[in-house]
């Protein structure tokens, strides 16, 4: 079944088509949520909220561009609002959580997807959010500053530190192997 057929069915509020859309894209969108929320319950909440928002605003999709990209954009917006609401980006200098994690992978090019999610999830919340927004979801520093109510320079420095921490974690993982 094509995306167009699924979308038209969902626009009619047909629950069967909504389930088909969920089954088709929930895996990819769950990955998006897990990038922002390492805690599984929060990721699932964000996914549910994201799908509700998708069904509410599906009429916005104008069939130009990637449908998957549009879905991701909606879910990312939901995740960011959830982060703002739950003040997950409260402590920008908190590095402690990164030092207590274990990684078991041989080298960067052999990292599996779950390893990557674990590594990203091990970043402090502020680092993780900026890294996700800039690297994974294509936001500019100006946009990140606007969404997270921080300065652009803070966003840049958080990104640098996030990258350094990720490299360090990967190297430590190599050495431990």
């Amino acid at each position: 079944m094509s995306d167009r057929e699924i979308i038209l069915g969902c626009l009619q509020k047909n629950r069967n088509y909504q389930k088909i859309l969920f089954d088709k894209y929930s895996g990819i969108l769950m990955t998006v949520c897990r990038r922002y929320f390492p805690e599984h319950e929060l990721a699932e909440d964000a996914l549910q909220e994201g799908f509700i928002r998708i069904f509410q605003s599906l009429q916005q999709f104008n069939f130009q561009g990637s449908f998957e990209g549009w879905l991701k954009k909606v879910v990312v917006n939901v995740a960011l609002r959830k982060i703002q609401t739950e003040r997950k980006v409260r402590d920008w200098a908190d590095l402690s959580s990164a030092e207590n994690k274990e990684f078991r992978c041989s080298a960067i090019d052999k990292l599996e997807e779950e390893d990557i999610l674990t590594i990203i999830g091990s970043l402090p919340s502020g680092y993780r959010t900026v890294f996700n927004m800039y690297v994974m979801d294509g936001f500019s520093h100006k946009e990140i500053a606007g969404v997270l109510s921080i300065t652009e320079s803070t966003s840049r420095s958080q990104l640098v530190k996030a990258r350094q921490m990720l490299q360090k974690m990967i190297i430590e993982t190599k050495e431990s192997d």
Binding site: K19, S26, R34, Q56, Q60
Partner: protein, 426 residues
């Protein structure tokens, strides 16, 4: 490293627990149940109005043919008389029974309580016999000038013996008086129509790329224009001057999309046909086709509309002077339906139709825009019987964005308007 992370996770499908869909399914079911809260509000308002009317009709103002009685000859002072009167005549048919048109007035033992409680005033005027024509005046002074020379009219508080009189006239204050005064309570219905001017405010609600640029382009191409609204309201004024009213309203906000496309190339083709006749009668046809590219500008103009059905819930306070009234009104307006049509830039800065001319896939605006705050000051002057006319400058502010939640831009409105209308008192 960035690209490696991105490539690895871009299409990775995480495992999704079954409970996720169950939660969504439950939420969707709840939303469907709650999709029409405003219809419930409308229904409740109509029920309350109906009950209020029945209460008014049966308790506050019973049928005119209810039996009434005058018991003694007490005469009140002139000071409590209102400025003008409406007079009804009652012709005697038999002892203590008088008729006016189809309405029957029975002068029975119940007059005292009925006239004191069933009319919104405590005093009434009565005349008899040859003075009836003279009683039909609308001036208190004139009536009391008559009182000095004739037996009637007399001002009676609630008690008078009418036995033996052939005709009586009972007068009560003109509505003009107790519309201005705060001493009585009553129900009313009003019809209003007015002109509005909307002020649009665009904001970035999602930080998608180019959202700022998109907002700027939208702002440069959309202009407010004259809009209008009309409503039918019913309400109640308390003796303290406080009032409440509700009803149904149609409001239409108008805007203009105006875009000048510069350096537009228009191709113009010119075909020339020449026929040349020779001496021998034959002829030659010469066809010449010239194509020219004309550079110019193209103007696109579209009238954009938000057509809305609303339920206003308004409270107010009425202040009255000697010959005018002022009402301060404020309240909430619940939008129950919004139909949008027109043309704006889409996110890729292309002029795109939505609504009636759209393709159905570009629908940036909500079908319900939620609550708006209303505030207005009404100036009332003339009265014609039970009818009153007025004008009311007003302001309306919409709390919510008209655009859908996931649209990159929020779109809010403040509307300034002036309304005129007429109010009828029961």
């Amino acid at each position: 490293m960035d690209q490696f992370f991105k490539d690895k996770l871009d299409q990775y499908q995480s495992k999704v627990p079954h409970s996720a869909w169950e939660g969504i399914d439950t939420r969707l079911s709840e939303e469907q149940v709650n999709t029409r809260p405003f219809l419930w509000i409308l229904l409740i308002a109509l029920v309350l109005l109906t009950l209020g009317y029945l209460f008014y009709k049966d308790v506050i103002s019973p049928a005119k043919d209810a039996p009434v009685e005058i018991e003694d000859n007490a005469i009140a002072s002139t000071e409590s008389l209102p400025r003008s009167f409406k007079v009804n005549y009652y012709q005697k048919e038999e002892d203590n029974i008088y008729y006016v048109g189809p309405e029957k007035l029975v002068l029975s033992d119940a007059l005292k309580s009925d006239l004191s409680s069933n009319t919104p005033f405590q005093s009434f005027l009565i005349a008899s016999g040859p003075t009836l024509e003279q009683v039909e005046m609308n001036s208190t002074d004139a009536l009391f000038n008559l009182q000095t020379s004739l037996e009637a009219p007399k001002l009676l508080p609630t008690n008078t013996e009418l036995a033996g009189k052939e005709t009586v006239a009972i007068a009560w204050p003109d509505y003009k008086d107790y519309c201005y005064s705060n001493s009585n309570h009553y129900f009313f219905i009003e019809f209003n129509a007015g002109l509005d001017f909307p002020f649009q405010k665009l904001g970035v609600q999602h930080f998608a790329s180019e959202a700022q640029h998109y907002r700027d382009q939208r702002a440069l191409t959309e202009y407010g224009s004259i809009s209008y609204n009309a409503n039918l309201l019913a309400g109640y004024i308390h003796p303290t001057g406080l009032l409440a009213k509700t009803g149904i309203q149609y409001a239409q906000l108008n805007e203009k999309f105006y875009l000048v496309k510069e350096s537009v190339v228009k191709i113009q083709t010119k075909i020339t046909i020449d026929t040349m006749f020779k001496e021998d009668g034959s002829y030659i046809i010469n066809r010449d086709t010239t194509t020219a590219e004309i550079m110019g500008e193209e103007k696109l103009t579209t009238n954009n509309h938000f057509r809305m059905v609303d339920v206003p819930l308004i409270i107010g306070y009425r202040y009255t002077g000697s010959n005018f009234g002022i009402e301060v009104n404020t309240g909430l307006i619940f939008n129950i339906m919004n139909y949008s049509s027109g043309r704006i830039f889409d996110e890729e800065i292309h002029p795109t139709y939505y609504g009636a001319k759209g393709d159905g896939y570009f629908s940036p605006f909500k079908t319900r825009v939620g609550l708006s705050l209303y505030a207005g000051i009404r100036y009332m002057t003339g009265f014609y019987g039970r009818t009153q006319f007025y004008v009311e400058p007003n302001l309306r502010y919409y709390f919510n964005s008209f655009s859908n939640n996931d649209f990159p831009l929020s779109q809010k409105y403040m509307v300034l308007g002036i309304t005129s209308g007429m109010k009828y008192f029961f």
